[in-house]
């Protein structure tokens, strides 16, 4: 069968070989964790602990202040030693709770549910909400909100996103290889909550072992289909994934639920299973630490709040040529200026680029209208024109070229031979144009 895909896209070298075969290792539990109160899209949490207070592992320390919000929990047991502002991946300062680890690893009271599949959709949704689960692919949208579609938007398909189309990253890959059953169980819970009878797992074809393991895990599930996708960035973007698997186009400006689909990331499905089965809140996640800038790349299960420096050390530390640290993948991740930034719910990878992988984006020339970005744009836009209009300050005119359909995947910028900062110019115009 031909591999499923969408129109456009690019094939950057994926460099997954650096960490694809490293089994997930438990990262060392740090002596102190820094847990930001805002790790999701939506309203930040309100701290419900005070300096000096003892907390247990899994205890809620920040409570949501709105519907589109998610609680945060202590990832170690110990004492709250400070409340302070720390930079997040985007470099913005956010309030955080600092907990000193007492090394006892004492859990708070968890509610074990061997019979979780008999819970009602509302009960399951509540468990997911209380566990503070958010989209773990990087978007960090609160999951319970995504699982509460309005009545006028009936959902008939759930897709687990195992594309992992960002180069370098292998966290989802390893989870599908090592814990396929749990991921499938997570999918079944989502299907139950939404009352959906068709579930898919979409995996890029560069992960044959993951496809095989997931197929095995789903072999007794007639409603679940594991499908192989063409290797192409941005195959894992929700709209592209839905187009590839069920051939539906999310309307411009719309959401997946407008075409009856809900997409969840592999890591999120795993967290959903843990929350419903064991009542475990989201206090750890799998992080790929990779790039030629670290000595021994690998995948680590790390507590939320672990400073990324510690993960870099566990991956053998910086090499001499390390120049850039990126949280997430190289196409959409954020370069950070400090390695004291903690791992959060959305940290899928810590990518350390070496001099040999680093490309300066300082020098660029004028657009030669070669059309490479036009061919590559998964949204069918004309990025070259958008970049020229933005560069010249004609921000309002960019609306005529559908600027708000751009989801900033960076494909255009990747292919541009003139090395133009196309997506950056688009972001600039977006921020200056009135919708």
């Amino acid at each position: 069968m031909a591999l499923l895909t969408f129109k456009g896209g690019v094939h950057p070298p994926d460099h997954k070989e650096l960490s694809a075969n490293s089994p997930i290792k438990e990262a060392k539990v740090p002596s102190q964790v820094v847990i930001p109160l805002s790790q999701h899209i939506g309203a930040p949490c309100q701290a419900i602990v005070e300096v000096g207070q003892e907390v247990k592992k899994g205890e809620m320390i920040g409570e949501p202040t709105g519907f589109v919000s998610a609680p945060v929990h202590a990832s170690v047991s110990g004492k709250v030693v400070a409340m302070m502002d720390v930079p997040n991946a985007m470099g913005r300062m956010v309030p955080a709770v600092v907990i000193e680890n007492d090394g006892k690893e004492e859990w708070t009271q968890l509610s074990d549910n061997p019979d979780y599949m008999n819970l009602s959709p509302d009960e399951l949704r509540e468990k997911i909400k209380n566990a503070g689960i958010v989209g773990m692919g990087g978007a960090t949208f609160p999951t319970h909100v995504k699982l509460s579609p309005p009545k006028e938007k009936p959902i008939d398909v759930v897709i687990i996103n195992g594309a992992e189309c960002e180069p370098y990253l292998t966290a989802d890959h390893r989870m599908m290889v090592e814990t396929p059953k749990e991921v499938i169980e997570g999918l079944k819970i989502i299907m139950k909550i939404l009352g959906v009878s068709k579930g898919y797992v979409g995996i890029e074809n560069n992960k044959p072992d993951a496809i095989e393991r997931m197929k095995e895990a789903a072999q007794n599930e007639p409603n679940i289909e594991v499908v192989a996708l063409q290797v192409k960035y941005p195959q894992g973007a929700e709209k592209m994934l839905i187009k590839a698997i069920v051939d539906r186009e999310v309307p411009a400006g719309g959401l997946p639920m407008d075409v009856g689909v809900v997409v969840q990331n592999v890591g999120t499905a795993y967290a959903i299973y843990e929350a419903c089965r064991y009542g475990k809140p989201l206090i750890e996640r799998v992080v790929t630490v990779t790039g030629l800038g670290v000595n021994s790349p690998g995948n680590f299960r790390a507590r939320i709040g672990t400073p990324i420096q510690q993960l870099i050390d566990e991956a053998g530390g910086f090499t001499n040529g390390a120049v850039k640290v990126v949280l997430g993948g190289p196409m959409m991740g954020f370069a950070v200026y400090s390695t004291e930034i903690p791992v959060t719910k959305g940290t899928s990878g810590v990518l350390v680029l070496s001099e040999s992988e680093y490309v300066s984006s300082e020098k660029f020339s004028s657009c030669i209208r070669c059309g490479r970005c036009v061919d590559a744009c998964p949204m069918g836009l004309i990025p070259s024109m958008l970049s020229i209009l933005s560069e010249k300050g004609f921000y309002e005119d960019t609306k005529e070229y559908n600027i708000f359909d751009c989801f900033e995947c960076g494909t255009c910028t990747y292919v541009c031979p003139a090395k133009r900062p196309i997506v950056q110019l688009i972001r600039l115009a977006k921020s200056l144009v009135k919708r």
């Binding site: 411009a252 910086f318 390390a322 120049v323 190289p330 030669i368 070669c370 070259s384 031979p417």
Partner: protein
């Protein structure tokens, strides 16, 4: 032991953090390389004069780029290969017999006026090499239409001149053309190999196609413009090209003669001056083909590729504006 990294040593920039290896200069030098077989055939048939004329065009182009950028205080870009390519294309579009000042002045018109004065690379409306050639043709009509007989002898001293196949076709018709070349098959073969009078780089169809195939294989150009261009010329010349009524024209002669192959694969596909969206490129190609056939069959000139492409260059922005690619998820009713 792990190397400690101080905070101020980390580079921070916005995503994406990786870039493809393609660069503007790599594109320009690769296209220049793909023209080499055709240029070599030109040298084979027209002798050292072909090298001389082309070299003058390249030197003139590079000098023009340098002098304008120097005067304007802009960054020097002569190494990006773009001016070199313009010079090479201009040279290949000239008869090998032109006196030295024609290549020099035309390349100045091409690079200094058509390209640099409009803002440099990426901002020119017209294909620089073709404007240079159009200027030369209008200014020195005699010199620009005096064609050397292909000799295939490297000394090339007997500077005999002759008419081009398209010129013969226009003035005297198909019979005369077949008579001169012997028979139809010989005519086709000689046109294919390039054993005929014409601009020094346009004659060898086979060498040009090798270069074009290389560019298509490397995905530097796509089929959209050349094929729609060639198909349109073929259809129109077949229907209206014959003297004995409709559908008696010889499209093969039209496809193999003049600057059509060079124009369709290497000049009409110039990134800057053609539309960027595939749909628009097909419209552009059809427009070029229509104008070429119209000029060849009905206008004063035997050849029309150059003017056809230049005229269509004017429409590129309009085509791009009106034939945008379909936006993903665009609502059906919005398409009305």
């Amino acid at each position: 032991m792990a190397v400690a990294k101080k905070e101020h040593q980390l580079i921070v920039s916005v995503s994406p953090h990786i870039r493809s290896e393609e660069t503007v200069s790599r594109i320009m030098w690769t296209v220049s390389l793909s023209l080499l077989p055709a240029f070599a055939m030109g040298v084979y048939y027209f002798g050292p004069k072909a090298v001389y004329v082309t070299a003058l065009c390249i030197i003139g182009s590079l000098f023009s780029e340098w002098i304008v950028e120097k005067m304007a205080g802009k960054e020097l870009t002569i190494r990006d290969g773009s001016a070199f390519l313009t010079g090479l294309l201009l040279g290949m579009n000239m008869p090998a017999s032109v006196p030295f000042y024609i290549p020099l002045v035309s390349s100045f018109v091409a690079v200094a006026i058509t390209k640099q004065l409009f803002g440099g690379i990426g901002y020119n409306i017209f294909n620089p090499a073709l404007v240079g050639r159009a200027f030369a043709l209008i200014t020195w009509p005699r010199a620009m239409t005096t064609w050397l007989t292909p000799t295939a002898s490297f000394i090339g001293m007997d500077a005999k001149t002759t008419a081009t196949p398209l010129g013969i076709l226009k003035e005297e018709g198909m019979h005369k053309l077949i008579e001169i070349f012997g028979d139809k098959m010989t005519l086709y073969t000689k046109l294919l190999i390039g054993h005929r009078a014409g601009s020094l780089g346009e004659t060898s169809v086979i060498a040009l196609l090798i270069g074009a195939a290389f560019l298509i294989y490397k995905r530097y150009i796509t089929w959209h413009i050349p094929i729609s261009f060639l198909a349109t010329v073929a259809v129109i010349t077949w229907i209206f090209g014959g003297k004995e009524g409709l559908f008696t024209g010889d499209p093969i002669v039209h496809l193999l003669s003049g600057g059509l192959i060079l124009g369709a694969f290497f000049m009409a596909t110039d990134y800057v001056t053609c539309p960027s969206v595939r749909k628009g490129q097909i419209v552009f190609g059809i427009g070029c083909g229509f104008l070429t056939a119209l000029i060849r069959l009905k206008a004063g000139y035997p050849e029309g590729v150059m003017f056809a492409i230049l005229l269509m260059n004017c429409f590129s922005p309009l085509i791009d504006r009106n034939l945008k690619s379909r936006v993903f998820g665009a609502r059906k009713e919005a398409k009305k």
